[in-house]
Symmetry: C2
Subunit: 286 residues, 2 copies
């Protein structure tokens, strides 16, 4: 999707501008490796497009988009650690603990989380907006959001207990849904508007995103994805695909994208970019 | 020091009240293990006493003190990991990765960092004060503060390059000094007052704290300290003691405490509790 690439370029320029530089800081190079790795920048896109809907200045939106990409990158660096998912490859590149070492990966993740808050704190907007963004992000990322989802995921794998559909949906709502929701509502938060319809959109979008992830783990091409696939079956994990079948998972994802787009009705055509990204999420191959 | 114990009790009551509970959240038990471990609560004390100096309501101060203790606890959980300092014991108790596993330790640390920001974001005070506390804490904890110090420490150890006095002072100013400074200035930030003299106090106090740490690593009693000692010599690390000698380190620490207390002159007797904690730092045995 051309617009997604455009957003990615803008946000990567900003990240390149604000991340510590390798000459001045030993964390500069590994932090940049972790963040500037050719990600899809879905979360950044949701921030930027929701911001446009509420007339938010582009410069502010780019900064907020950079913050969420740092938070997301931190979670990937820690997820890839040997004691977690133990992945050597991310977007076709060696992961941080492979290229450097585990200590560096732990610390780079730690620093990227902190940096996300630092970016939001330095935003050129009112203290009310900044504190709202920072506090909601902390809620989304922490022990009742993303990190909880990660713990639930590991617990299910360790116990080799197959989760049911509702449990998987809940786990994924925490693990990936919380940051996706934050991103889609960020524009309204910066613009100090009601976030309700965007929450509904993001919840359906986030679940569809995860179902497509499960489908790609089965059907995808490892070189396109730039990471190891077929991991879930190897780990004996229950997924949306193992529970619904491939066809069932595909139609469920399509339904969720309908739901997501339906939730945008109050915004009319101004929400078209969010509708396009929903189509992208459904049809993506990486 | 009785007053330090009193602060510890208050802050631990608050932490017990706000941390996720074990029955509702799989992170509850390991997060509590990491935070409620009988620490000295030096950072909490600095927050509470600096807050008193500026007439800040005790309830707010206790919340801010809880946040800094979560941030500190996160750094200890990650520092203790096998890929970092590889410590099995912390205050006489098994560390998180020993009692649970490494994945849990990574995620508990991650969640505690996030929780520190969540606490500050929920503070019952103006958005300006909250955003100041959150942003300065992010600066103190991140890639130009605490995490940088940790990276510098590991780099010196890996390269087996002996640092000189200035380099060690700089490393420690990042690794432990930044959070100590934040704690000592927190009261002024909440009260929206000039933080200058407290920065000077905290810089000297933080360095004295670290020198005493190095002295205790050589002279201390492992059962009183509740952790492995004599680590620095075993690792062939340059420390304040290896560079200054035991007597030199002791007199340097005493000088720094003089400097710290001198910086408090503008506050008169209202800063006596901060002077007392400086004496405690100099004479502590754990």
């Amino acid at each position: 999707m051309a617009k997604l690439k455009e957003t990615a370029q803008q946000v990567e320029l900003e990240l390149d501008r604000i991340l510590p530089t390798p000459d001045g800081n030993p964390l500069g190079e590994p932090m940049r490796h972790a963040v500037l790795n050719g990600g899809k920048r879905l979360r950044a896109y949701l921030v930027m497009e929701s911001a446009k809907m509420f007339g938010v200045d582009n410069k502010k939106a780019v900064a907020v988009a950079s913050a969420i990409e740092c938070m997301h990158a931190y979670s990937l660096v820690h997820d890839d650690l040997p004691c977690m998912d133990d992945d050597d490859l991310r977007r076709g590149q060696p992961t941080v603990h492979v290229k450097w070492d585990q200590a560096t990966a732990v610390l780079v993740g730690d620093a990227l989380q902190t940096f996300a808050f630092e970016i939001l704190g330095g935003l050129n907007t009112s203290a009310e907006v900044r504190v709202t963004l920072m506090t909601t992000l902390a809620k989304a990322a922490g022990a009742n959001g993303m990190v909880l989802g990660q713990v639930q995921d590991i617990a299910a794998e360790t116990a080799r207990k197959k989760l049911n559909l509702e449990q998987i949906a809940q786990l994924q709502a925490n693990k990936t849904g919380a940051l996706i929701e934050w991103s889609a509502t960020a524009g309204a938060m910066i613009g100090r508007q009601y976030i309700g319809p965007l929450v509904e959109y993001a919840a359906a979008l986030g679940q569809a995103f995860q179902i497509v992830d499960d489908i790609l783990d089965v059907e995808g091409d490892a070189s396109t994805a730039g990471k190891r696939l077929k991991k879930d079956a190897a780990a004996g994990k229950a997924t949306f695909v193992s529970l619904l079948g491939l066809d069932g998972a595909k139609s469920r994802a399509a339904e969720l994208i309908e739901t997501a787009n339906g939730a945008l009705a109050p915004y009319g055509a101004s929400a078209d970019p969010l509708r396009h990204v929903a189509q992208f999420v459904l049809h993506r191959d990486m």
